[in-house]
């Protein structure tokens, strides 16, 4: 209830957000009656999930034979989705530790993306095995037969890494949500939702005691999630790196994969953020600073990935190893040259456009680039997996991938699965972090007090947008 008598101070970040209440209003706006477009999208996603289920039933009933050879599309897609997840944790956890003030507005979307991406990725290890109904043999379940899984197998590392990642990121996600669900509970008028939110918010009331422990717990969760996010894709990369297959057996893989993961993740964040921004008119929250920072992150990781590509080829050449050389030569000249080149182009070359500020600041351009990177990153995994396997030691068994409708269904289905969850999330849980955005807003003051942090923010905006915020929005 800001009375006109006082001078209203505004965040340099979110100049259009006048008050705490407005954050609640805008956040709740996302949760109210969906448009026809939303329902169409949701229906499409569910349809794709149906396709996935159909294809998988086919696999279970007739055997895996209908998929392309060996480890191809499914493992590629698995790695792709695990990678996607990483940006979310990066933004929500690592940037939290760094206290980056541009994190608050976007981290909820990013984190939701993480959870659902990992949820999607977790499907594929199950779907791709020959006898999915025995997947639980991979878990260390005590049985009277005293049979245990093999802890030396990278696949078992995967089981642990992915489940841990899924658990921790979900927990982190939910803990962060508690105060906002409480806010939703207090704001919503729908009695049904009120009840549900009441349960989900665990009766959060925002007392000093709650906040005191909450902030610390959140900090430590972030501190744990940070090494985790770095480890998960390393472990996934070790699926390949600890093998003996030429093109896989490389020490560079862990950092290379992590960088790639963040690259693809950030790209996916942008790919999701721009439409949400446009549809829900969130210009007040997703500001140029956010896009600018994301663009720079994308640029950095794309440079790292580009370096990794180069280094791989250099080592292949420099080691003088016949098999290694053949594989890498085959990647760019062999049966899969198209994949090899789209990977290099989309991941290492296209993002370089972001050096140019005009492009960085142009949502459409940025969106398109991010989509390219997504495609490129899928191809990166494809290129790592398929040519290496089809061109390994034994020439007699060089093979060609035969992609079938089942592969396609599983790939598309995974997107359906992911977006289904994401759309449901948008509809039922606060997509904006109500409590945390308030942290970067100037608190309501009766008597104007000094708020130093606003100066830094002002500078940040200034150096991002010489033209100023309004002009940017106007474009």
């Amino acid at each position: 209830m800001v009375t006109e008598t006082q001078a209203v101070t505004r965040s340099a970040f979110h100049p259009e957000v006048e008050s705490y209440e407005q954050v609640n209003r805008d956040a709740m706006r996302l949760l109210t009656r969906p448009g026809r477009g939303y329902l169409a999208l949701l229906a499409m996603s569910v349809g794709l999930v149906g396709l996935l289920v159909f294809a998988e039933l086919h696999n279970i009933i007739y055997g895996l034979g209908m998929i392309g050879d060996n480890w191809a599309v499914m493992i590629t897609t698995f790695v792709f989705w695990v990678g996607i997840g990483h940006a979310g944790t990066l933004i929500s956890a690592i940037l939290y530790l760094f206290r980056a003030p541009w994190r608050q507005a976007i981290y909820r979307f990013a984190e939701a993306m993480t959870v659902f991406a990992v949820l999607t990725a977790a499907l594929f290890p199950l779907l791709h095995i020959g006898r999915p109904w025995f997947f639980y043999w991979l878990l260390p379940l005590p049985s009277q037969r005293g049979i245990w899984p093999n802890f030396r197998s990278p696949l078992l590392w995967d089981v642990f890494a992915v489940t841990t990642y899924l658990t921790v990121s979900s927990v982190f996600f939910y803990i962060g949500l508690i105060p906002d669900i409480a806010a939703a509970r207090d704001t919503t008028t729908d009695p049904m939702r009120k009840k549900v939110y009441g349960v989900l918010s665990l009766g959060w009331r925002g007392t000093d005691r709650e906040w005191r422990h909450f902030t610390r717990a959140y900090l430590f969760l972030a501190a744990l999630a940070t090494p985790l996010v770095l480890s998960v894709h390393s472990v996934v990369s070790w699926d390949f790196a600890v093998s003996i297959v030429p093109g896989w057996h490389t020490t560079i893989f862990a950092p290379y994969f992590v960088a790639g993961a963040i690259l693809s993740g950030v790209a996916m964040v942008v790919t999701i953020m721009v439409p949400v921004h446009r549809i829900f008119r969130l210009g007040a929250y997703f500001t140029p600073v956010h896009y600018d920072r994301l663009a720079k992150l994308l640029l950095l990781t794309s440079l790292i990935v580009g370096y990794a590509y180069g280094m791989e080829y250099f080592m292949a050449y420099y080691s003088g190893e016949l098999y290694e050389r053949d594989v890498f030569w085959d990647r760019v000249t062999g049966d899969y040259w198209w994949a090899g080149w789209s990977m290099i182009t989309f991941n290492a070359i296209v993002p370089q456009l972001l050096w140019i500020k005009k492009i960085r600041m142009n949502l459409n351009a940025f969106f398109i680039i991010s989509v390219f990177v997504n495609i490129g990153m899928w191809y990166e995994r494809f290129v790592i997996i398929v040519p290496s396997l089809s061109h390994s030691y034994e020439p007699w068994k060089f093979w060609n991938l035969h992609m079938t409708w089942v592969d396609a269904s599983l790939l598309l289905g995974s997107f359906g699965w992911f977006f289904m969850w994401f759309l449901l999330f948008l509809r039922y849980l606060p997509g904006l972090s109500i409590a945390e955005i308030k942290e970067v807003l100037p608190p309501p003051m009766k008597h104007q007090g000094p708020a130093h942090h606003q100066h830094d923010e002002a500078e940040m905006v200034a150096e991002t947008l010489p033209t100023g915020y309004k002009e940017w929005e106007a474009r």
Partner: protein
């Protein structure tokens, strides 16, 4: 907890007024429960909150996780010793991954446990401060002073003086 179940709730639209009230009420020796839509240092300073002990849970959990990881991998390999690929039965390099993952997992879970225990979540049973106002998750701050009935008057005075827009009294 020995806090009184009775008291007075003041609703503050502004942070500075709220902190003002907090300081004065504490000087008067009241125990307080403060509601805020977002964690503010000003409030913590005013209340003089101490470091949360959640970190103990985190640390212990992490250690437990490491131990569990080691034990699981090693023990399972010993009770069913199969040689694969000329690796040792206890292949530490491989097991370290398991150890790490369990460290994180159990560390995180026990942190949450810590939060729930210390922060009294989920909120079962009667809340420590009986009075609440939905706007506390919106824009307003709230200060609940745990006070015996005979001191309600003082509390109400302090609150209104320091700028509370609305003072609610617990009439139970």
């Amino acid at each position: 907890m020995s806090k009184l179940r009775t008291g007075v709730l003041g609703v503050f639209p502004h942070l500075d007024t709220a902190t003002e009230a907090i300081r004065r009420l504490r000087r008067e020796g009241f125990e307080l429960t403060v509601y805020s839509p977002t964690p503010r240092h000003e409030v913590e300073e005013a209340l003089g909150t101490k470091e949360s002990p959640v970190r103990i849970f985190t640390l212990m959990g992490a250690f437990a996780g490491t131990a569990a990881g080691t034990a699981l991998a090693a023990w399972a390999s010993i009770v069913w010793p199969l040689v694969v690929g000329g690796k040792e039965i206890i292949s530490m390099p491989a097991f370290s991954v398991i150890m790490f993952e369990l460290t994180i997992l159990i560390g995180a879970l026990s942190t949450v446990a810590g939060l729930f225990l210390l922060g009294r979540l989920p909120h079962l049973g009667p809340p420590e401060a009986p009075m609440y106002h939905p706007s506390f998750t919106g824009g307003n701050f709230g200060v609940f002073a745990h006070a015996p009935r005979d001191r309600y008057a003082d509390v109400q005075r302090i609150m209104t003086e320091s700028g509370s827009e609305e003072v609610l009294v617990d009439h139970r």
